[in-house]
């Protein structure tokens, strides 16, 4: 009989641990393989790796369970077969005994004619069908044994038949007719055959019992070894999974600490910047005020005695101071827009644009601007920041259409990408050369000389900064002398 462990599945694939630690340094091909494995593993997320680790552990447990179950059932079956063998040997023994008794009994009868000696013979004749049945049941489906049992039954039948015919002759013809038979026995040869066959059968049973004992022992040993191996394997895999998780957590912790440190640095830098802009706002303005103030006082006290040139100089001093004041104010707004905390709410852009245009009414006086304002959606954002965006874009449009006889300004919205709205301010002003489009939104970037159009070059930088903080983009289209369109996108709804 084949041993069940020979066809069991191979033990769980211990050759593919989730970690690429055991690198055999001396053999380049396996290093290559390990590297490939680790690059392949690197593509997996930690969750996937942990899952794979648990999957391997689970598969290992499954395989070991199946194999152990099969081994154990072999042992159980063997012990059942052992019991049956034992029973068979016992049965054969009792049959043999009964046959011996019947044989010696019938010989005594042949000699004495006393029928009481035939009790054993009658008993076995009567019991033989039961014995035969029992034998067949014990032998089961093993063809070879079944055949030998049939042979045994045949021999017994012959033996009993011979005995029966001798008994018959004794009863009918008297002692003399069978005298020559009584001493050696009628079927001594057949009985010997039976004895041999039974001994043979017993030897066979003993041999297969020994084989089974050997098989059971090795099965049990295998099972124990397998369970040990499984436990080891699971320990290794669990260790690997633990290592992975630990490694990941450590990495995350390190990143978190790094982030915290960076955050603190950033906060410190921000504080410094705040202090800087505070002192810019306070200290830089004072001298400017003095320049302008004393220039004005000088012009007031000595104005009459100064010639036109000197008066123009004074005027220039005063103008420059004012311009620098404006520049500082704009820069401060720009810096504030970057630092200021955003207060998000739903912004009614239609209303916002109306307010902005209303605020600009002083600049709009005597300007025949024709407005075209489309239907503008509600967006999510900081109202005061978005107001700054529209103020800058609309006042730009007003400024750069100043030289047009029929200035037109259009404000509209379009939706191209889902979840995002694009707002634009279009004018038919002086426009710009598209090759400078990338410079438009930079700080202090100007495409016009100051004597053409006034400005500090911060307005559009502010627009870009605010829109970026809202998670949107800014871009512009235009052509020299053919107007310009400034676009910015805003997410329609955002939770952060």
């Amino acid at each position: 009989m084949e041993i069940a462990t020979q066809d069991r599945p191979a033990p769980p694939p211990a050759s593919a641990p989730p970690v690429s630690e055991p690198v055999p340094k001396h053999t380049p091909p396996s290093i290559l393989r390990v590297e490939r494995l680790s690059t392949w593993l690197a593509k997996w997320s930690i969750e996937q790796r942990v899952l794979a680790g648990f999957g391997l552990v689970f598969a290992g447990i499954l395989v070991i369970s199946v194999v152990s179950y099969r081994n154990t059932s072999v042992v159980v079956q063997n012990s059942r077969l052992d019991a049956r063998s034992h029973e068979l040997v016992q049965l054969l023994g009792s049959i043999e005994e009964a046959l011996d008794a019947a044989e010696s009994g019938h010989r005594r009868y042949l000699v004495t004619g006393d029928e009481s000696y035939l009790k054993a013979h009658h008993a076995i004749v009567e019991q033989m069908p039961d014995y035969a049945h029992y034998l067949q049941a014990l032998v089961g489906n093993d063809l070879e044994r079944r055949e030998r049992m049939t042979q045994l039954e045949q021999l017994i039948k012959e033996q009993l038949d011979i005995e029966a015919s001798a008994i018959k002759r004794r009863a009918e013809q008297g002692a003399d007719a069978v005298r020559h038979l009584a001493l050696p026995g009628v079927a001594k040869r057949e009985l010997d055959n039976i004895h041999r066959l039974i001994a043979d059968l017993e030897t066979t049973e003993q041999r297969s019992t020994r084989a089974r004992v050997f098989q059971s022992t090795s099965s049990t040993r295998n099972t124990i070894a397998l369970l040990g191996l499984g436990a080891l394997l699971q320990l290794v895999l669990l260790g690997s999974v633990y290592y992975l998780i630990h490694h990941d957590i450590t990495a995350r912790r390190r990143v978190a600490a790094e982030l915290r440190r960076k955050g603190e640095l950033l906060q410190a830098a921000n504080k410094e910047l705040e202090a800087f802009s505070y002192s810019v706002s306070h200290d830089l303005r004072a001298p400017l005020r003095h320049i302008d103030g004393y220039a004005a006082l000088l012009s007031k006290t000595a104005g009459q005695s100064l010639n036109e040139k000197a008066q123009r100089y004074l005027q220039t001093i005063s103008d420059s101071a004012k311009q620098m004041g404006q520049l500082i104010d704009d820069l401060l707004v720009f810096s504030r827009m970057g630092r200021q905390e955003m207060l998000r709410s739903t912004v009614n852009v239609n209303q916002l644009v109306k307010t902005v245009i209303h605020d600009l009414r002083l600049d709009l006086q005597d300007k025949p601007i024709s407005w075209k304002i489309g239907s503008l959606p509600d967006v999510s954002g900081d109202p005061s920041m978005l107001r700054q965006v529209f103020t800058n874009l609309i006042s730009n449009a007003v400024k750069f259409t100043g030289t047009r006889p029929e200035p037109r300004i259009e404000i509209g919205a379009m939706q191209q990408v889902p979840g995002e709205v694009t707002l634009y301010v279009r004018d038919n002003g002086v426009g710009f050369d598209m090759q400078y489009a990338n410079k438009l939104f930079g700080v202090f970037q100007r495409l016009h000389r100051n004597d053409e159009f006034e400005g500090t070059g911060i307005g559009l930088a502010n627009v870009r900064r605010i829109v970026h903080r809202h998670g949107g983009r800014t871009w512009a289209e235009g052509a020299l002398d053919h107007g310009a369109t400034f676009y910015f996108s805003l997410p329609l709804k955002r939770t952060t």
Binding site: S281, D283, R285, A286
Partner: protein, 151 residues
């Protein structure tokens, strides 16, 4: 209506002080202005001590406070004034270069009566100071409490 009750102007920068005086001059209220050069001097004036030991008692009609001053800064002076039952009624106007939200919020939280950012442009500055001087020094009726002026 004229009153001799003084206007206190706390200004550490002599040029700013001179410009402010020049502005008030135009409305002939410059002679009522007492210039203090830092926060400590303002407190000396208010509490009639140090160089102001012998001044006539009584609270000024208004105090103009710069934020950034040596020794004691504007916020500290404001806090002292608004925490003193006698000084509390004095109107305090913050007159500063700072447009920082933090300063605005803090000043109002401490009880400032007004907050004015000094304009860079002289004409605007002049008109601002003038208006402030006229409003607080002439038009506004000062609180009666603690004022024993020699009117």
């Amino acid at each position: 209506m004229t009153t001799v009750k003084p206007i206190v102007l706390a200004e550490d920068n002599p040029r700013d002080a001179e410009l402010a005086l020049a502005a008030m001059e135009e409305h002939h209220i410059a002679d009522k202005v007492v210039i203090c050069h830092d926060g400590a001097e303002v407190l000396d004036y208010l509490y009639c001590r140090g160089p102001y030991k012998s001044r006539e008692s009584g609270n000024p009609v208004v105090v103009f406070l710069d934020l950034k001053m040596p020794k004691v800064d504007g916020i500290e002076v404001l806090r002292t004034i608004k925490n003193d039952a006698n000084l509390k009624p004095i109107p305090v106007v913050m007159l500063t270069s700072s447009r920082e939200e933090r300063d605005l919020a803090q000043s109002y939280a401490l009880g400032a009566n007004a907050y004015v950012v000094k304009p860079v442009e002289f004409q605007q500055f002049i008109s601002a100071v003038k208006e402030l001087g006229v409003f607080w020094g002439v038009i506004n009726e000062p609180p009666p409490g603690g004022t024993k002026s020699a009117a």
